[in-house]
Symmetry: C2
Subunit: 340 residues, 2 copies
């Protein structure tokens, strides 16, 4: 069609700069082009918690506790299935967890993966943050997951300070090129922000990154915050819990700072980076904008957009055919890119 | 956020399989995360022709003629700027155009690019189909563009028969691995369908492909036909000109046939493939579904999703910062992947 529309555009479309299009209401059928399990997830109601706005630090803490307890109930079964063990530790004073598989393939013996969990810089403290780590450990890697400080008690820059402290301890023990760093959502943003910080402080950089649907822009800037509003049935909209958490974390700091919005980073010299998102993801733009900037900076970067996935669906339901592909792809990327 | 929502999902979201979500009406602001020129294009009104349904073959021919005349007015300036010449020829009886740059860099001397234009299997006959070819020729390649037969006069399989006839002539003259094949929209689908046909007939396969926002699924199947309905201001919706053209071309043939919907192809053995789309593209799913299937088949494939682009914007306005990046990326991909 492209051809047709060019000339039509040039002729008939007067420049109406800054016009805001209103998209009419419309039904969104469940696509048949995804697995039956994902169809079920897409067909389920919007996440009812998306527009919660806890009114006080106390109310936030209560919500955090409820969610964490909820997640922890699924962990024993997930650990058993993935055949991994969990061990608490500290590195440079920061609490961490070692998540380790029953057997580590020989190619991965000298490697580790450093993980930052998601949760909007507020949720998933302690073991509640370990699902992504368990899923990568289950694919043959020793994973070190950071239990970084969060809002409301410890807003920016506590989380990234903790990340840097752990990174310093890691590179004192492992060749950096044998270390992969990964995370989803907020964890994806922290993965990128850690490299921003490491570059600034002249620390060694990791061998490879996986940023799954990273929260790369903390404020509401980017096309899919609008195009996928109410299309993504997990996050639903920026204008709820998400925006409230962003303000809580930034705590008055400029959200454009690359440590808070790593899409604004100078990506020169970044390690090879895998990026993952979906057609319904509120963070589609967050993800593809990072990809474009990595490419522009000459960095090896591999973008994968999954049909029908909303934000974080792969972590929400790791049994989806699509989720297994996502984690398999991440493990393959680290196997390919990390030094041995 | 992912972490939070998993457990919430498991707890609060009862499976309501096949529920059709209704997206409320909502304003879509022009994103500031794209070039000023693309902001202007996004801010302009919907393509007013999107819901045309010519009622007869005669009416289609008239519309085709109007559009073609419209496009041809911009060609002389485009040719002059890109410093290319056009020469009509025939190959195995099929009309083609050689589009050639003033100088061909030494690395490209033994290479050519074969191009299929877009236009919904109906539009852009003759020179009106040469914009993409001119833009790649302007980046240092000799391009051979196929003026294949189209609906309503020659529905499926005429177009793909012509493509195969030209391909046979090409591989008789050039080592296939030195030939890249590319096209946008319908031309992207034909690029993929040619490989489907070549595999079936045991012909050599090209060295690399670029499918720009390919019309990979001819019928209305795929998530972004719905999620980006009325978000894409170029195609706007399947339920207009596009669907009508699909029916005209298929002419009763099963649209699921991989020659009409190459997303259904067996992608094993495909050449390295570059794919390009945008966050607002009605063909976002067409593009990313092909990418996933290529990856699943073990094919080298590079997906690029541009912020804010609707379908075919890069061809519609080749002067956009984003369009220059798209064509530059395609040229770089062919330089890297084609044999010399």
């Amino acid at each position: 069609m492209a051809t047709v529309l060019v000339s039509v555009g040039a002729t008939a479309r007067a420049a109406a700069m800054d016009e805001t299009v209103v998209v009419p209401p419309r039904p969104l059928p469940v696509p048949k082009t995804v697995s039956p399990e994902l169809q079920r997830l897409i067909g389920s109601p919007m996440n009812p918690s998306w527009d919660q706005h806890p009114a006080s630090a106390e109310a936030w803490r209560a919500l955090v506790k409820t969610y964490a307890a909820d997640i922890e109930t699924v962990l024993p079964a997930l650990m058993a299935r993935e055949k991994v063990t969990i061990r608490a530790d500290r590195m440079n004073g920061v609490p961490v967890f070692w998540v380790e598989p029953e057997t580590v393939p020989s190619e991965n013996r000298g490697r580790i993966l450093l993980n930052f969990h998601g949760g909007a810089y507020v949720f998933a403290p302690g073991k509640a943050g370990l699902r992504d780590a368990i899923l990568l450990a289950g694919r043959g890697f020793r994973v070190l997951s950071v239990d970084y400080r969060m809002a409301p008690d410890a807003p920016y820059p506590a989380a990234i300070d903790d990340a840097e402290a752990v990174w310093k301890a890691v590179v004192a023990r492992y060749p950096a090129k044998r270390v992969g760093v990964f995370g989803s959502s907020t964890g994806g943003a922290m993965t990128l922000a850690l490299v921003v910080r490491a570059k600034a402080h002249h620390l060694p950089l990791p061998g490879a990154l996986w940023a799954g649907t990273p929260w790369a822009q903390l404020d509401k800037i980017g096309d899919s915050y609008f195009t996928n509003d109410h299309v993504d049935n997990a996050l639903v909209s920026y204008d709820g819990l998400l925006g409230a958490a962003a303000r809580l974390y930034a705590n008055g700091h400029d959200m454009a700072d690359p440590e808070l919005s790593p899409v604004n980073a100078d990506f020169a010299g970044f390690p090879p980076t895998l990026l993952t998102t979906g057609t319904r993801d509120l963070f589609l733009s967050n993800t593809i904008r990072v990809h474009r900037k990595l490419k522009q900076a000459g960095v090896v970067s591999d973008l994968n957009v999954y049909e029908g996935l909303s934000h974080g669906d792969f972590e929400r339901d790791p049994d989806l055919l699509e989720s297994r592909e996502v984690y398999g792809e991440a493990a393959a990327f680290f196997r390919q890119m990390l030094a041995r």
